[in-house]
Subunit: 220 residues, 4 copies
DNA sequence: CATGAATGAGGTTTCATTCAT
DNA sequence: GATGAATGAAACCTCATTCAT
C-alpha cells in the first residue's frame, strides 16, 4: 500500500475523486423515488452506487439521516421563500398599504415558490409523495400551517379594515391546505417549469375568485 | 382437554362468537391505520386478534386481499354515489334543464358523498392516507378522473350554450383534483359528520366562486 | 336435512354419486405427477377435487396414506408377476429342464412385466420418478433385490451344472439393477405400449449378449 | 463485551477461522445429503454451521445458489472428462485408427470418470440422488445425451466401415442411459474407489458383450 | 360423509445495522 | 475512508393436520 499523497488502490479502483458520498446520494434519490421510503433498500442503494454498506454508515447515521440529507436543504429553502413572502405581505398590511386583493403580488410569490420547487424537483416530488414511513411523512402539514396563519391574519385584517364578513377557521385552514396541494399537484403533473408557471397563474386566479366570493353577498 | 369450565381444543376451538374473521378485520383495520399498509405486520394483526397466522390465511389470500376486504365495499359504494350524481347532472344538461350554476344540486351531491365517506370513515381514512405500497395507492386518481370527465363536459356545455370562455384542460383536471382532495381533507380533519357537512357547504361555495370567476372578465 | 334414502344436499350440490374418494385419487395423482411427492400440496389436491380437507382425512390417514392408496395395488401386482416368473424359472432349474439361455422365456416374462407397468402407467411413473420424500422412495431397491436373488441362483446353477465361471456378487447386483432400470427407462420414455414391448425385446437381447459374454473366455 | 477470554462481538465477531463460508458449505452438504434438496432446511444448515441466516445470504443468493456452489464445479469437471474422452475416440475414428472394439480405451476412459466421481463423491451422490426439486434434478439427462451422441456416431461408423447392422435409436439411447446409470450405481453402492474401479471394468466388459451381441447374427 | 375453521410450526428471504480490520 | 463479514429479528406465507358440527 502506497502511503503518500498519491491515490491509493484499495479493493476496487483508484478512488473516483472522493465522491463516494455523492454517488450514494444519487443512488439513494433514485431508489427512494422508485420505491418510496419504506420499500427502499439500503443494500440496493449501496450496490447501485458501487459502494459497501459500511461506507454508507460512515457518511450517514441511518436510513432517516440519508433521507434527510436529500430533503433537508430544499425544505429549508422553501420555508425561507414562504416566510419571506408572508412577512412582506404582513409588512404591507401593517403599513396599511395593502389593497383589497393584490393579485400581482400573490402570483409573483407563487411563481417564486414554483421556481424553488422546480430547482429541486426530484427531491420535492420524493418528499411530497414518497415519504410515508419517514420522519417527513407529515411535512405538508408544516407548510399548510404557516400558510394558514398568514391567511388568518389577512382575513382578520380584511374584516377589521374593510368590514368584510368573518371567515371560519376551517375554511381558512382548508384554503391553505388547498394552496399547498395545488403546488404539489403542479409539481407532480407537469415536468416543464415554464408550463408550471402558467398553471400556477390559473390556479391563483381561481383561488382568488373563490376568496372574493366569500366576501360577496350570496347572489340569489 | 377440559380445564375448569373453559373448553380448550386444537383445531376448531369452541368458537368465541363465531366471528374470528370479524376480529381479524377489526385488528387489521387498527394496524393499517396506525402503521400504514407497508409497516403493518400480519403477525401483529393476528396476535391482537388472538388468532394464529394460519387463521388469517384461511380467510384471506394474502396481505393485499386482507386490505381489500376492508376497503373494496366502501370504494364501490362511493363510486356508485358519484356515478349517480354525475349521471343525473348530465341528464339535466342533455334535457336543457341546467341553469348556469345549480349550487343547490352540487351541495346536495357533496353532502351525499360526505355521508358515504363518514359511513365508513375508518376505511376511507385508511384508504386515502395509508395505502402507500398497496394496490390501492393510486385510488384517488380514479375518483379524480371521473370527476374531471364530468367537469370537462360541463365546461364544454357552458361554452356551447352560454358562450362562456373555454377552460384549459389542466385547470379542469386540477379543480377535479382539488374537489376530491377537499373531501379527503374534511374526512381527515373533522370527526363529526355534522360539522363535515357544514364544511363541505363552505367548500362548495368557495369552489363555485372560483368557477364563476373563470367565466368573468378579469376586473381590473 | 332430509334423512331417508334420498340424496341430500349438503353445502354444495346433490352428491356427485358418492365418488368423492375417486375424485380425490384422480386429483392427487395429477398433483403428485406434476410436482412430486414433497412439493405436492394436499390443499391443492382437495381444491382441484372440489372437496374440503376434512373429506380427504376421512378417507386417508395422511399424505403417505393417500400416496399409498395410489401405488400400493400396482406394486403388489408387479411383485406378483415377478415372483411368479422367477418361481417358474427356478422350478425349471430344479427340474433340470433349464437350457443354457432360454431367451424366449425371458422375453416373455419381460413383456408381461411391461404389460403390468403400462396397465398402471401413471402410477408407476409417479412411483418410480416422483416419490422422493415418501416411504416409497427406495422402492426400486426391493424390485432389484428379488431380481438379484434370482440371478444369483441362476449363475450358481450355471456354475454348478455347466462349469461356467463364477460371477461376482457386485456384477449380479448391478445386472439386476440395470434390468429394473431398463423397465423404468422404457416406461418413462415410451408412451405406446406396443413400442415398449418392441424396445424390451431389444433390451433383453442386449442383456443376454452381455450375460453370455461373461461366460465366454475373453477373446484377445 | 469481553467475557472471560472469549471476545464476543456483534457484527463481525472475532473470526473463528475466517471460514464461515466453508462451515456453511459443509453443513449444507450434510443437510442436503441427509434430507434431499427440498426437505433440507436453511435454518438447520445455519444452525449446524453455528451461524445466522443472514450470514448464509451474504455468501449465497438463495437455496439454489447454495446448492449450486456445491455441485457446479464437480459437474464441470465431469463434463470435461467426458468431452475429452469422446473427442479422442472420435479423432481415432476420423483417422481410421479405430479397431472394432477398443476395450482398453473404453475401460481407461471409464476409470477416469470413476476417478472424477470419487474425487467429489459426496457432491456427486447428492447431485445424482438428492436433487429432486432443484434446478439440477434432470442433470443425468445431459450426461446421457452427450454419451448417446457419441454412441450414435460410433454405431454409424461401424455400419459404414465394417458393414455392421444398423442399431435402432432407442437402443442407442438406452445403452447410453445405462452406462451413466452404471456409474451412478457404482458410486452409490461402493465406498472404496479401488473396488469401484474393479466394478467398472466388469461393467464395461459386460456392456461390450452386449454391444457385440448386437452385431452378431442371432445364434440358433 | 363431509364441512370449514383453526392450529402452530416451519419455510425462505430481506432488512437495517454493526464493527474489526 | 471504506470494506465486507455477520447479526438477529422480523417479514410474508404454506404446510399437514385436527375436530366440533
Amino acid at each position: 500500500m502506497n502511503i503518500g499523497n498519491t491515490m491509493i488502490k484499495r479493493g476496487n479502483q483508484l478512488k473516483d475523486n472522493k465522491e463516494t458520498k455523492e454517488k450514494l446520494l444519487i443512488s439513494a434519490k433514485k431508489e427512494f423515488i422508485e420505491k418510496g421510503y419504506l420499500s427502499a433498500s439500503l443494500r440496493n442503494i449501496c450496490k447501485n452506487a458501487g459502494v459497501t454498506t459500511g461506507a454508507l454508515y460512515f457518511f450517514f447515521e441511518d436510513k432517516e439521516d440519508l433521507y434527510g440529507a436529500l430533503v433537508a436543504e430544499p425544505i429549508k429553502k422553501l420555508h425561507a421563500v414562504m416566510d419571506r413572502h408572508y412577512a412582506e405581505e404582513q409588512a404591507q398590511i401593517d403599513a396599511g398599504l395593502l389593497i383589497e386583493n393584490d393579485m400581482d403580488h400573490d402570483v409573483e410569490a407563487a411563481i417564486e415558490i414554483v421556481r424553488c420547487l422546480y430547482l429541486h424537483r426530484d427531491e420535492f416530488m420524493m418528499l411530497l409523495t414518497k415519504s410515508q414511513g419517514s420522519r417527513y411523512q407529515e411535512i405538508t402539514g408544516g407548510f399548510v400551517m404557516i400558510t394558514e396563519k398568514h391567511f388568518r391574519r389577512m382575513a382578520d385584517n380584511l374584516e377589521k379594515s374593510f368590514g368584510a364578513p368573518p371567515v371560519a377557521d376551517y375554511l381558512i385552514h382548508w384554503i391553505a391546505h388547498m394552496l399547498i396541494d395545488a403546488f404539489i399537484h403542479i409539481l407532480t403533473h407537469e415536468v416543464s417549469e415554464e408550463a408550471a408557471e402558467a398553471h400556477v397563474q390559473q390556479v391563483i386566479k381561481y383561488m382568488i375568485g373563490g376568496w372574493v366570493g366569500l366576501f360577496t353577498p350570496a347572489n340569489k
